[in-house]
Symmetry: C2
Subunit: 221 residues, 2 copies
């Protein structure tokens, strides 16, 4: 595990760097997802369950983005996968250059799937391309069914929606069908999973889909 502490800065030409990241990922036949959500929606728990399910059968590496602390990298490092923690020191999103710098810590030839866990923020990371194949947005059932309509930018830019903490539905005023309908109103092309990291419901389906996406790309790897 490495810890990089990088001052927040406005990154010029983020899209140019993202394009270079994307070329690098293609060159190494690497499938890359950018995991985004509000703070506390369960991105890191989902990542832990994903690593538990897929580790050994896929070679996974992780970039953790946080405003402060390396707690998430510590949690991920327990699964013996390569992980780099980016600390933004107050910055509200990851930028392509931060990810580019983090990549130097990996041997990309030996990675099939790279997961970038963004800063917990349902607004700002929507506009920053990191070079990923797709954004995966996580929403917890505890957050209220209206969130896709109130924060449409993220759902517009995402390719996958994960409705997480599905086990808490009996205890909160939430209807996952409404969350999904609201998300599809913003982006009808969204691929949707329902998961619980407590009961593991939906984790196998999510992981099998992830594996299928990787297989598409790793023919000759």
């Amino acid at each position: 595990m490495s810890v990089l502490t990088i001052e927040r800065k406005v990154l010029e030409k983020n899209d140019d760097v993202a394009r270079r990241n994307r070329e690098l990922f293609a060159q190494h036949k690497l499938f890359v997802i950018n995991l985004v959500s509000s703070p506390g929606s369960g991105k890191t728990s989902l990542l832990e369950q994903t690593l538990k399910h897929l580790n050994g059968s896929l070679r996974i590496a992780v970039v953790e983005g946080d405003v402060q602390t390396d707690f998430d990298a510590q949690r991920v490092a327990k699964f013996n996968v390569p992980v780099v923690q980016i600390v933004t020191n107050g910055g509200c999103h990851l930028e392509a250059k931060l990810v580019h710098d983090a990549l130097a810590n990996f041997d990309l030839k030996k990675v099939d799937l790279l997961v970038i866990e963004n800063v917990g923020n349902l607004v700002c990371p929507a506009n920053y391309d990191l070079g990923e194949a797709m954004k995966v947005v996580v929403v917890s059932t505890t957050e209220g069914d209206d969130k896709p309509l109130k924060y449409p930018g993220m759902f517009h830019h995402a390719s996958v929606l994960i409705v997480n903490k599905i086990d808490l539905v009996p205890y909160v005023n939430s209807n996952p069908e409404v969350i999904k309908q609201n998300a599809l109103r913003i982006n009808p092309a969204l691929k949707i999973f329902e998961t619980s990291c407590t009961t593991t419901k939906g984790i196998p389906e999510w992981c099998e889909w992830l594996r299928s996406q990787t297989k598409v790309r790793d023919g000759s790897k």
Copy 2:
């Protein structure tokens, strides 16, 4: 209820405008809080409970800030209080000028307490003074006990912490004592309340404290 749609812009001299807002609030003996949290922590539900409890005994006005939609203003308007919705159109926080423009919709002489509900974002609103007396940060027990340490800026700038959704503790991996300890490590001066908007636990205490803060200021009003 009024709806203002204002393009996001970088606001120069935010602090100057905040100072002018603060002078205006002092002139009208108005107690003003800036309610901040992640999306889905329960800011609007807390506000609904607060209005239910205090409406009639305090004259309350509300400024709602959202990236998109006027859902929150609609919820608040049911309590027959003056409310202005600011739609930031993608902007990740409220700025002092947006609040200043919204104030023109109120008769400030007839208001004791102004609640500004910020955009759901635990990062960016921390750095924008709106002229409020204090920031009140809401954290839900479903978000994970580590959030104060991972997003310290907001807890550093806040005067009050509300640990919300306390009724969900039996169903999630959360210890409110740890949330509070972590928050106090960042800011030992935090005043703390525990609330549930489902059971109304803690709502009377929070409302009585709010009323006491208002009384301090309304001697001659």
